[in-house]
Symmetry: C2
Subunit: 364 residues, 2 copies
Amino acid sequence: MIKTKSLSEAFREAEFRVGEHSKRNVQVLKEAFKDVSGNIESDFYGRGKVIDDFQDQMMKYLGKESAIFFPSGTMAQQIALRIWCDEKKVKKVAYHPLCHLELHEEDGLKKLHHIESILLADKDQLITLADVQTIQEDIACLVLELPQSGIGGQLPDYTELQAISAYCREKGIKLHLDGARLFEILPYYEKTAAEVCSLFDSVYISFYKGIGGIAGAVLAGTKAFTSESKIWKRRYGGDLISLYPYVISSDYYFKLRINKMAQYYEEAKELAKLYNQCPGVKTIPENPVSNMFHVHMNLPEKELEPILVRIYETTGIAFTSYLQQNGSSCSYETNTGDNYAELPKEKLRAAFSQLEKEISKIAL
Amino acid sequence: MIKTKSLSEAFREAEFRVGEHSKRNVQVLKEAFKDVSGNIESDFYGRGKVIDDFQDQMMKYLGKESAIFFPSGTMAQQIALRIWCDEKKVKKVAYHPLCHLELHEEDGLKKLHHIESILLADKDQLITLADVQTIQEDIACLVLELPQSGIGGQLPDYTELQAISAYCREKGIKLHLDGARLFEILPYYEKTAAEVCSLFDSVYISFYKGIGGIAGAVLAGTKAFTSESKIWKRRYGGDLISLYPYVISSDYYFKLRINKMAQYYEEAKELAKLYNQCPGVKTIPENPVSNMFHVHMNLPEKELEPILVRIYETTGIAFTSYLQQNGSSCSYETNTGDNYAELPKEKLRAAFSQLEKEISKIAL
């Protein structure tokens, strides 16, 4: 019996990938450094021109008093919450049930800081002002992730966001932005980063999602806040002797892609439409508000996987490397990056046409 | 009045530096990556061939069951101590007063883990077995730094080290090695890294001291220990999506320099002799046991600095970029790396001869 190729194998071997930028390989570093002079001095434990210049650039872009480069968002966000909890002497914060802090950090916030979290909103819904108003206990900080990636990258209306911000200020609750994908939502909101960030007391941004860098994050806020964050960065062992491999590559890819976010957003809407035309397929959100969304297909994994493998092999177009089964249906996250514009459109159409045909045979 | 050049300016402008390898600049990264294929896949949150292979190499080199790559030693060591404290349910450890954990981490161990520390030995002395035997309280772990860099890089006799290890095992105290400069002491001990590490339950090593990489560390021990350390690495935000900029450069410089440690050690002894021939100058230790030592000169900074600046300007040879004044004398740390072999020996002799002459005029 011939073993069928697995989805991840077929994905790996396919000529074209619908999402992402390029592959995550050493070329990403090589490209970022190819025109950088070897004489540029390393940063030195958080100091030096190379890190100062990039931090200044991000500080201005975010419209904050100060910005500090971190190895990771996990580190930056835990530190932000710790600072707000210490300031208010309240070890409690609130965030979404699918928040990175809750799902992907092995309970670092609790284990390292003994900070309790209140989970706001149902896990398939956005946090609303009404949710925030239900909080009975005293909390130091509310975290909002824009877009909420765990539910396909949904966004509240901007007026709702303004209302939550005003409410938090009135109640003495610090508002922290998980802006891992902040750049990606600006075309939808039609706001500058600084305008969005003005609603928040502290902001984290990432350089390896829409920007497509190697790794790295920035935490921004008042000077007092970031000064305190630098002490914690040292405590965490994040104040490396040299962060320039991440700083310089973040700078390179920021400049390369920051003005392409509107293009990615338009492409995401186009791609979501292609999915939504297929029977038994829907995207969440139906109309993307950034470069990302979730795809839900009404088929169990054992039926869907061979269909996708055949599509990848026939057309060379690969949609996803994995499927997550929920009951009798499957879902996956997708996005649009530099790869999307490179796709031969007739092959993309052929892939969707085959998807529609194969699903119709089974599902309907 | 013409302003005299500062020591750091003169150091920066001098043609030759006595210590270190090359300058800490982007060239260090470029050299490490010049022959690395762009097709090599990034590690992905601590997994993948690029990180697995290097961890395996270090595991074997250190003779431990398992080794995990970390962004920094600060992170790796705090985590090691936390694991040992949790295992024994005793939140107390012992280490030297000049330990990195005590001096350079903004009290991370206390602030993040509430672990108390007992400071062993006078700060200008090594920790002895007798010191360890004086500990009355129950402790989870003893940290030994080999060599003790804060006092010029001194080392206990190997038999003393064995005795401390045996005592700790008998008493149920875990022994952790701060091996930031482990590679550098192996020629003096005439032992393999695995032999030294066999005396310890957990070991941290660094890749940007004698090895001269960009940044990065490895923590090694039993599989159970390193599995737990990976969870903590995630909690700390050290489990980056891509650590390959540090992994690949650490691997490159490890291979380049691991067999040069004996050379650096011999050169350090030669350099220390040159210093010790000068009146009012002594090195600690008098005979280095690694590639590092401290230089003490019996002159206050305001008299010594202009002498050094003149030497740098006349000979092109620069000894140090800074001076630390202690009472009426000064000291600094120095070491031997790739730079030392490149020094024109007649210029080095001229520099020391000028040092001797100028100090003699004032000090005697």
